[in-house]
Symmetry: C2
Subunit: 428 residues, 2 copies
């Protein structure tokens, strides 16, 4: 008869208040009451505790409209930190952010390559320690590690299925091993979703209600944000545009399907086509007598083809243009299904080739996006492609302290009745 009752998610009013303080910059207690809808009693209780814990500072007074001036509150940025790690075949990026999400340290190290996962985890633990020590942050103030890598990820057992070049990571208990090696809590995530979150926190896409980060590194994926909240799908594997089918009878993909965008247009496909074109191969230094050391990764070879294309080599340009047209069509399909209003092109490969892809994707959406009569889809290049996934990974840790007032958030009517904060579903 009626719809089944929905489970009502737990919410932390402390985290909600903290997020409003962060977003506001400075705000009074009265402002917090207006912004959160909490009672004055709730706000004063929560704020007192946040000040005791050192997360919030009182800072001067604002002229009030009559009555005594109001004390302003602001986030104590340096009271807590989070580590973000982006683990990929071709590189591992690290960032340390403060409670406000500002990057206070960053570094990039060699990728996972073909090393055994346990060895890579040991190295990551040492590199995370170096990141934290390097800026003299007390590890007791580090909330944890956000670790993202090519998906799909299962929280308990890492990547499954893993992309072919990271096959040895499939079903490796990534979070458990990193937690043991570093002594810090670990939150796993998908690199493309983290990239979208990183773009959002960087303020690059403010005002967008339905935003996707089209993410091309070694493979092709996307991260989806709805009103600033990551959309994960039923198992954390949403946004797999690399496996949008563009040709039901096309070549087989490692995922088991045919004609996937990644197989037709991904960096590996671009490199293979460039190798098959003598001129393009020579221009990109892909021919065996091209001199110089063999490159270690598909991403590096792809970057070489992109440079040759930008340099004017017609063969390399043709190969990249073909890839761009396929990616543009897949992006249009994503936009048609989600009714997107904004797309950011990001990821290591688009950081080097984005200028060649951007006009093709924008033209495709302007010409053929289904709802183009209603609104355009704005496409732009990421300005932080190299670190966006690591920054997004760190923010997922910060959000354990700073839960935004987001879809699903429920606010208890009175903190003095904590058992009301997390009610169970009603009826059935």
């Amino acid at each position: 008869m009626g719809a089944p009752a929905r489970a009502i998610p737990h919410a932390s009013s402390r985290a909600a208040v903290l997020d409003v303080v962060r977003a506001a910059g400075t705000i009074s207690r009265v402002g917090l009451i207006r912004a959160t809808g909490f009672t004055g009693a709730t706000i004063s209780t929560v704020v007192r505790k946040l000040i005791e814990d050192g997360l919030v500072l009182e800072t001067g007074r604002a002229e009030s409209t009559g009555g005594k001036p109001r004390v302003l509150l602001q986030l104590n940025q340096s009271s807590r930190y989070a580590v973000g790690v982006h683990l990929d075949h071709s590189g591992i990026a690290y960032v340390l952010t403060d409670l406000g999400g500002s990057v206070v340290a960053r570094m990039t190290r060699a990728g996972a390559g073909t090393d055994d996962p346990p060895a890579v985890v040991q190295r990551m633990a040492a590199e995370v320690a170096a990141l934290i020590d390097g800026v003299g942050v007390d590890e007791a103030r580090v909330l944890g590690i956000g670790l993202v890598s090519p998906g799909p990820l299962t929280p308990a057992s890492g990547m499954g299925p893993a992309p072919p070049i990271m096959r040895q990571w499939e079903d490796f208990p990534l979070d458990e091993e990193v937690r043991r090696a570093t002594g810090l809590p670990v939150v796993l995530g998908n690199d493309a979703t983290a990239a979208a979150l990183g773009e959002y926190w960087s303020g690059a896409v403010s005002g967008s209600s339905t935003f996707a980060a089209v993410y091309v590194c070694t493979g092709i994926g996307s991260g989806i944000l709805i009103n600033g909240i990551p959309y994960h799908g039923s198992s954390g594997n949403a946004g797999e545009i690399g496996h949008i089918c563009l040709d039901p009878d096309g070549p087989e993909c490692w995922c088991g399907a045919r004609g996937c965008t990644e197989t037709l247009a991904g960096p590996a496909a671009v490199v293979a086509r460039a190798r098959a074109d003598a001129g393009a191969a020579r221009a990109a230094g892909l021919d065996d007598d091209g001199g110089g050391p063999r490159r270690s990764s598909v991403a590096a070879d792809f970057a070489a083809v992109a440079r040759a294309a930008r340099g004017g080599d017609p063969g390399a340009r043709a190969v990249v243009d073909r890839s761009a047209r396929y990616l543009a069509v897949a992006t249009r399909t994503l936009a048609n299904v989600l009714d997107l209003d904004r797309v950011v092109l990001t990821g290591q490969s688009l950081a080097v080739a984005g200028s060649l892809y951007l006009p093709v994707v924008q033209e495709e959406l302007d010409r053929a996006f289904f709802s183009r009569a209603t609104h355009p889809v704005a496409v732009h290049l990421s300005t932080s492609a190299a670190t966006a996934p690591a920054i997004g990974a760190a923010t997922t840790v910060l959000q354990s302290e700073l839960v935004p007032l987001q879809p699903g958030t429920r606010i208890p009517g009175d903190l003095a009745e904590p058992e009301q904060a997390a009610p169970g579903p009603v009826g059935a």
Copy 2:
């Protein structure tokens, strides 16, 4: 630095409480406090008003765990009603539901066909009046009309762009005209999204977190529900799987793109291919000397082809199988992008041909859904395909009284401070 603050949507605690009562069947005031997180004062204020307005009834007492027995509350089903209208080229379906979403009256009349919109609106007004009078419901108790039709819809100006066979409706001020003709408030919606909502309210997909209704009537679309809440996208046009590209070099679609699923596999494509096959055309009565009156719509011709296929005509079967394979691939793309856990096949055309499509779609998802190692995608046929969109349309009206506790809903801490119920965004 930090993420931009989000706008905080308005919430009605009255509607939230009413939805919990509906979902629970019967519940005590104490149960409502637990379920909503509101204070006891808030609950007693809201419940008193709901009883005064006749929306909620007190019904007996439950044995309480010590203390005096608790009064149970339940929805007064017959206190309010809503009309749902599904306007399509080939038929117009009407339902009248009570406050609990139960259908108390339904009827189907001739479709919009090629008639002028104003004439169709006058007829709809008369048919809505007949629907309400037929069961002797006081029109004062009818909250309004939910009107859904092929999208995309713009609330102010109807369909834009409209599918070719309903071109005369493009930019017709549908809501305004129907409001004037009926004297009832009108809420416009997309038929595929309404179909998904109808399936959800019918309880057919309980337990699904990310569900899509694949909707085939004259065209192909889909409705997406995330935790039971319709996903509309940035302009109400999400879910357009009819315009998922399956062949970048394919035939041009009315939407302006090439190789869209609807153009390759929609009912019109199936009928055209059947006409081109002498045997199939004869079996389906599509050949000009097939006898019988010419059918009025693509949907009716498609139904004839489907019947011929089910009857064993090899040509008709081949045409339908080809369509099913394309729809299966488009459904897999939708599932990969959204990480779906459930799909329902619905809409007038799948009501007649669903048994031919279901195994093909399920096999495709079992074999090639990207995250199949993590979870399956369950596909089933709608049991209420003919009325699901109209029922979903009616529920959108009910939700003006019954706002579920849903993503985006914010709860004021204290009803005595109403100005806190709808705070504006903080910071920027």
